[in-house]
Every structure is written in structure tokens, then in C-alpha cells.
């Protein structure tokens, strides 16, 4: 369980956001939304304990995140950062094994159990075939899956993903989101940031909307993600339309047919 109360985050010289409270239960997914520069990444880094909170608290299973050692933190929380091209051509297997760092002592190398965990993670995401490929030579989607595999190898009950679908093509986006659903159903707690309100609606239990460093809404996804809130969040008129069982947000300028509600 992850809980933040009246959190102010950012840096001493530049506060990024204030007044954020949120709560994610085990087996739930929280989506964090906000325009460019709204502070999504900084919020995630604060929840992860990588940046100290400016005020307020972040608790993981009841323990303040700041009180945990780096190892304890890494065993509870896994982080999938935003896409980047890694500096050295480590193989996917090497990268996934690095997820075991919190379980391998400083002077040791990963052992059999660690290799097994890495293999399980690759298998779970069905990317065993990539194991020996250098990470520098993967496509964006493959690299994203490799980074998720590394987080899974960490065997932490909580997963934080920073814009996991950004810069992915249509197919890879769907694959990654389906994977997140499966992981949530397997009992993991998931927090991810996204630029797609529809993804949040379809794949998250709860949603946090950040506008100008303040929470616009923090609620059950379907309650937080109303046409009104999304309109205010991005500053453009938006309608929520239903197509079959799917809900889509549409910019009003090109909304199809009569506007509901």
C-alpha cells in the first residue's frame, strides 16, 4: 500500500507541486496525469524516495519512505524510468539481472537464484528471445519491455512507471498496457504516469490529475476523469464519447455527432 499525505514535492529552490494526497491499495493501479511540466516525473521520484519530500509524508506499507535504506526501498518499489538510450551495449539479460542489485551484496555477483528470477521476468513478458541482444540495438517497444522486466526481476510488490507508453507505436502501447493489466491482476500495485486520459480510464483504478502543481482530482478513475476535469487539465474543450464499450476523449472542435451531456 502506498500513501501520500499533503505532499509538497520539488526542490528547495523550486517547488514543483503541493497538496497532493493519494492512496493506492495492493492490486490497484493509479494513473498520474498532467500536462507537460506538470511535475509527474518529480512526483514519481518523490514517491520512490529518490527526491526528499518538501513537506508531507510518503508511506510504503505504513513505513515512511525516507526511513527505508536504499536496499529496503528497492525491495518494495521498482521503477521503470522514461525511455532513453543507454550508454553501453549491455545485453537485455545483463540489464534485467541488474534488477537484482538489492539482493546481491556489494562485493558479490548475481547467483543462480538471481539468474532464475531474471529468466522468470523475461518469460513473463515473453521476451526471452531478446536476452542476448544489446539493449542499444532494441526498438523502443522492446526496450520498454526490457526495463519492465528489470523491474519485475526486482520482485517488488509495487511498480512505478514513468510514461511507459510515451514514444511507443500503437501496437506496442497496447502490448505494454495489457501487460500492466496482467501484472495488476497478479497482485502488484502499479503507479504510472501518462499523457493519455483514455489509457488511465481503461487501465487504472484511480487517477490523480495534476494541474499547475496542484491536484485537480484524486479519485476513482471514472470519477476523476470527467470531460470537465480533462478540459480543465489540458485547457482545451473535451468531450467524453462512448463508442461501444469504450470511452474516448475527443477535442470538441472535431467531436463526431451530437455532444452528449
Amino acid at each position: 500500500m502506498l500513501e501520500a499525505r499533503d505532499l509538497a514535492f520539488g526542490f528547495p529552490a523550486r517547488r514543483v507541486g503541493t497538496g497532493v494526497s493519494l492512496r493506492v491499495e495492493r492490486g490497484q493501479t493509479l494513473a498520474v496525469l498532467g500536462g507537460n511540466g506538470a511535475g509527474k516525473t518529480t512526483l514519481l521520484r518523490t514517491l520512490l524516495g529518490l527526491v526528499p519530500a518538501q513537506s508531507g509524508s510518503v508511506d510504503i506499507d505504513g513505513a515512511p519512505v525516507a526511513s527505508l535504506t536504499p536496499t529496503e526501498r528497492a525491495r518494495r518499489l521498482a521503477y521503470v524510468p522514461q525511455q532513453h538510450v543507454p550508454p553501453f551495449g549491455f545485453t537485455v539479460e545483463d540489464i534485467v539481472l541488474m534488477g537484482r542489485a538489492a539482493r546481491v551484496s556489494a562485493f558479490a555477483r548475481p547467483g543462480r537464484a538471481d539468474r532464475a528470477a531474471a529468466a522468470r521476468a523475461l518469460e513473463r513478458l515473453r521476451i526471452e528471445a531478446l536476452a542476448q541482444r544489446p539493449i542499444t540495438q532494441l526498438s523502443g517497444g522492446e526496450r520498454q519491455l526490457a526495463l519492465i522486466a528489470r523491474a519485475l526481476a526486482q520482485e517488488a510488490p509495487m511498480l512505478m512507471l514513468d510514461e511507459p507508453t510515451a514514444s511507443l507505436d500503437f501496437g506496442n502501447r497496447a502490448r505494454v498496457l495489457a501487460e500492466l493489466d496482467r501484472l495488476r491482476d497478479a497482485g502488484l500495485t502499479i503507479v504510472f504516469s501518462t499523457h493519455e486520459p483514455e489509457h488511465a480510464l481503461a487501465h487504472a483504478d484511480r487517477a490523480l490529475l495534476l494541474a499547475g502543481g496542484r491536484p485537480l482530482a484524486s479519485d476513482i478513475a471514472s470519477r476523476a476523469l470527467t470531460a470537465d476535469n480533462v478540459t480543465r487539465l489540458y485547457g482545451i474543450p473535451v468531450d467524453l464519447v462512448e463508442v461501444g464499450t469504450r470511452k474516448l476523449f475527443v477535442h470538441r472542435a472535431d467531436a463526431p455527432g451530437p455532444v452528449p451531456g
Binding site: L50, P70, P81, V85, P87, F88, A108, S139
Partner: protein, 360 residues
């Protein structure tokens, strides 16, 4: 999921780094076989190098002299004296210096995720040299010279990192190198000043001769004096090898994986600086080895530090033996090896730089 997209990320974000480091990977089996091969090559080089000189010995004669000495049947032959008292310690010292500089370079490159850094481009060599020169200036003994070199090297890399972190340029790769070069040139001015105030009959020649980096007067004692700190540094780096791989990830990721990045980085910098200082204290500044050798080794060993470190060390040793053997016999009098490494290293560095700029 592949095809076009596979190319895109490299062109988009692809800082030179990934381009320099990402090369077609040999199979793991091949990679594992490279180290024994390199060791064999090194031994062969050493045997040949022992025989080369004004009193030439064939490799077979060299092996015989070595064997007789080890077997306790040492004769008072000229060959025995030349091999055991003159050439072996010299070759040993040059090997250790090459290995230490290359290992330090490999560690710095991995640590800063930057294939262009090295003990010399980071200012560590200059800092160590200034420390050592000051110690020589005050007539200190060898242990103090070593300590001063270590302190100078640490101070230099500390200053370089501090300045580079304050300069928020978007090209962190080049910023670090430029800062290193600038600091190194300032330290060079400090060395010049020390030479200026040094006693011109006594201390100055000692400093000048030492700075040029020669192995001519190497002894077994010197060999031991460098083997100890360099060996300790190597063991620490080897033990931390896997962690150092994790440290090559971006800072946030390494921390999120549970690595105490600051502590680990401090340990790696200390170890790599100790190795550099050990080398500089015996042989002065010998540039380029720490830059070029680990880069070449990475192309063969791949990115994993557990493989990169030993191969760099062995290749550095082999490189230095070759350089010093040429320095011994190429001209009538001795040639400082630093001149030769510069002749080899400069064009390689320029080629590296050219490829970096192209990729940007």
C-alpha cells in the same frame, strides 16, 4: 517491433556514447576466450622483450636463463645479471604502470558513462604529478611521494567533478572532458612553478627526468612499491565489478535499484585514483594509455566491467611493454615512453573524437 524503429532511437537521442559503445557483439563464448589469449600474448611479449637490447638473447636463451635462476642454479653469467637485475624489474614496472593506468581508465570510463574520460583527460594524472613534484621539491622519500601523488590525484578529480556539475551544459560528455583539460592545464602551470623554484642543479633535473616518465632506473623495490597500491586498487575494482555495471545506468535508475551511488562512486574514484597515483609516482605522466587501451578492450570484451577490467589491465601491460621496449632500443639513448604513447595515442584520440562529433 523492429525494422525502422530500431534505427530511430539512435538517430534521435543517440549521443555519441551509445554509438561508440554499441558495436556488433561477439558471442559470449568468444569474449570469455579473449582473456587467456591476451595473457598468453603478454607472456610471449615479455619473453621477447627480455631478449631485446644491446645484449640480445633469443627467446629460448631467455627461458633458459629464467629457468636456471628459478631452479636455484643461478650462475654469475652476464645474461643472468642482465635479465634479473636490469631487464626484468624494468619490464615488470612498465607492465604494472600500463596495467594500472588502463584499469583506472576503464573504471573512470564506466563510472562517468563516458568513453572519452581517462586518468589524463580527467586531470587525475596531472594532479598526481603535481603532488609528487611538490613532494620531490621538499626532498621527501618515495612513500611520501606516492601519498602526495594520491592526494593530488583525488583533489584534481574532485575539482573537475565539482566544476563540471556546476556547469549545466546539455553536453555533459564534452563538458567533463573540457573541464578536465582546463584543470589539467592549471595543474601543469603548478608543476611549471615548482620547477621554476626548484634547485636547478639538483631537484630540477630529478623532477624533469621523472616527469618525462622513464623506466630506465627501475628496481625490484620500485616494482613492489607500485604493485602494492595498484594491486589493492585492482582487487577493490574487481570485487565491485558487478555493482560498477549497475552504476553505469543513469543515476536515478541505479539508486532505485538499491545502489548507494554516492558511496560506490567514491570508492571507485578512490581506487582508480590510487592506481593512477601509483603509476605516476614511479614513472611520471604517461598519457593516452588510460584512454586508448580501455576503449580498445571494450570493443573486444563488451561492456561488462568484470570482463573489461582484466582485459584492460592485460592489454595495458602488453602495450606498455611494447612501448618501453621500443623506447629502450629505438634510438641511441633512451626515449621517454610518454613521447611514444603520445605518438600512438593522439591519432587514436582524434579518430575517436571525430566519430563522436559525427554521431552528434
Amino acid at each position: 517491433m523492429r525494422s525502422l524503429e530500431a534505427q530511430a532511437p539512435r538517430m534521435r537521442a543517440g549521443p555519441a556514447l551509445s554509438d561508440l559503445a554499441a558495436h556488433p557483439a561477439p558471442t559470449p563464448l568468444l569474449r570469455a576466450g579473449r582473456l587467456p589469449l591476451a595473457l598468453l600474448l603478454l607472456v610471449a611479449l615479455v619473453v621477447v622483450a627480455i631478449g631485446v637490447g644491446r645484449y640480445p638473447l633469443s627467446p629460448v636463451e631467455v627461458l633458459r636463463v629464467l629457468w636456471l635462476h628459478v631452479a636455484g642454479e643461478a650462475t654469475n653469467s652476464v645474461a643472468d645479471a642482465i635479465v634479473w637485475q636490469i631487464r626484468l624489474p624494468r619490464i615488470g614496472v612498465s607492465m604494472l604502470v600500463g596495467a594500472a593506468l588502463a584499469a583506472a581508465g576503464a573504471a573512470f570510463q564506466q563510472l562517468f558513462r563516458n568513453p572519452l574520460v581517462a586518468p589524463d583527460t580527467l586531470g587525475v594524472s596531472s594532479g598526481a604529478a603535481l603532488g609528487a613534484v611538490l613532494a620531490i621539491l621538499f626532498g621527501a622519500g618515495f612513500a611520501v611521494i606516492q601519498l602526495a601523488a594520491f592526494a593530488g590525484g583525488l583533489a584534481a578529480v574532485g575539482i573537475v567533478m565539482l566544476i563540471a556539475s556546476r556547469l549545466t551544459a546539455h553536453d555533459a560528455l564534452v563538458t567533463l572532458i573540457l573541464t578536465g583539460v582546463v584543470v589539467a592545464s592549471l595543474l601543469g602551470a603548478g608543476i611549471s612553478f615548482a620547477k621554476y623554484v626548484a634547485d636547478p642543479y639538483n631537484t630540477l633535473p630529478a623532477i624533469t627526468f621523472w616527469l618525462m616518465g622513464s623506466f630506465a632506473s627501475s628496481t625490484w623495490r620500485e616494482l613492489a612499491a607500485i604493485a602494492l597500491p595498484a594491486g589493492a586498487a585492482f582487487v577493490v575494482l574487481a570485487l565491485l565489478a558487478w555493482r560498477i555495471d549497475v552504476l553505469a545506468l543513469p543515476e536515478d535508475e541505479a539508486r532505485a535499484l538499491g545502489v548507494r551511488t554516492r558511496l560506490l562512486r567514491g570508492a571507485v574514484i578512490a581506487a582508480a585514483t590510487l592506481a593512477t597515483a601509483a603509476a605516476v609516482a614511479v614513472s611520471g605522466i604517461i598519457g593516452w594509455v588510460g584512454l586508448v587501451v580501455p576503449h580498445m578492450a571494450r570493443r573486444i570484451a563488451g561492456p561488462r566491467f568484470a570482463r573489461l577490467l582484466p582485459l584492460s589491465a592485460v592489454a595495458g601491460a602488453a602495450f606498455m611493454v611494447v612501448i618501453d621496449t621500443i623506447a629502450r632500443v629505438a634510438v641511441v639513448s633512451e626515449l621517454p615512453p610518454g613521447i611514444l604513447t603520445a605518438i600512438v595515442g593522439t591519432p587514436v584520440f582524434i579518430a575517436l573524437l571525430a566519430r563522436t562529433r559525427q554521431a552528434l
